[in-house]
Point group: C2
Chain length 225, copies 2
């Protein structure tokens, strides 16, 4: 028996990226290349994602060039609303899927004038569970929770509230009439995600919008040169 | 070459049931065996599913024996609330899944005193998309939509509104203060599901509850003998 010269087998460990994660990396690269900051807005149906995006565009459009990617199971009613602000918008219909994914957002980026934009808002499908599992390559993840949904949601849907960079309580004009305990909510957030700022606002009345707008503008990448 | 006697090959076509559909059939059999009518309640987070179930139990418990299966991603806060009514309740935590499935509900049935019940309410996970794809073996499927979510939802989330036997508009006490066009909603429903009755009610104030309660009681299987 001849003893062969042994060569040490060195295991090569590398993270195999899923198709979604690969596309997310590509999206991140595209955003960096164009100096764009992108926000992935996630929330239940009817939480006010479109209304917040529209109010943010109206408030910032004199200074910031904003594009929008609209995600819905069906229809383009939200994109039609966004278009009234004059911002470039692309509608994605998932045809049943409960979340956006990075390859589809990549396709949407192709339809936006990225060279002329400072920020992009990506409105995910109305769903408090699925979207958080899919990295879109966004710069920041935003969870919206509307006052009528109730203050116990970080307890019942922890994954999304744990993962995001910021939380926006929408329809804050209903904090008086409805039974939503803001202190209880903040305490729950302290438990699941103590570093994420929480803004309470009403995009319709304008109350509380300043802090959110300031946070958004601070995220915009500084101009080069 | 010897010609063998040919036997005609008769193709046997049968529907191969998925694991979920098999369990759903089993659930249907169990419900029938016990003479129980089961309602699968589907809606967004915070639409008021638990509150409607509680108000229905309170209104009917003198005449109907009601059990509840509570579905949530995490926590048992809803089951704790239901338990205050005195109704037997089982909590299911999906641990991340965006819907209940029939095998899990089957396990929950094991924990309920089925021999002593007339009806079971199954509260699905808060989600307007995923739950409709999973038959639980329920007798009726119910979609709830809360007024703050907006009147355009059958257009944006058609699958659930097409599939259900009845639609309940919850938080109808907010129909005045909020901008929800009930006629526009009914017109959309006429397009996607013209036979499903639509009830508008507030489980908190009690307005509109009678029609819903009457519909529910009409569904209860008549006593034998």
């Amino acid at each position: 028996m001849i003893q062969s010269e042994k060569k040490a087998r060195i295991p090569v460990v590398q993270r195999i990226l899923s198709a979604n994660d690969q596309a997310a990396e590509e999206n991140r690269r595209i955003l960096e290349e164009h100096g764009i900051v992108a926000f992935n807005l996630m929330a239940s149906p009817g939480a006010g994602k479109t209304t917040l995006i529209m109010a943010t565009i109206e408030a910032l459009k004199a200074r910031q060039r904003i594009g929008v990617v609209e995600g819905d199971v069906a229809s383009q009613v939200d994109a039609d609303r966004i278009a009234t602000t004059g911002a470039p918008v692309v509608q994605i219909n998932t045809g049943g899927a409960c979340h956006l994914d990075a390859p589809t957002v990549n396709g949407a980026f192709d339809e936006l004038p990225l060279g002329e934009l400072d920020m992009v808002f990506v409105e995910n499908v109305g769903n408090l569970i699925c979207p958080v599992s899919f990295d879109l390559g966004q710069t920041y993840r935003v969870a919206l929770l509307s006052v009528p949904e109730g203050d116990d949601k970080p307890y019942k849907y922890p994954a999304i509230f744990e993962a995001v960079d910021v939380v926006v309580i929408t329809k804050a004009d209903l904090l008086g009439p409805l039974d939503f305990d803001l202190d209880a909510f903040l305490e729950l957030m302290e438990g699941v995600n103590p570093t994420a700022p929480v803004f309470a606002l009403s995009a319709e009345t304008g109350e509380g919008m300043e802090d959110w707008l300031a946070w958004v503008e601070e995220r915009v990448l500084p101009l080069e040169g």
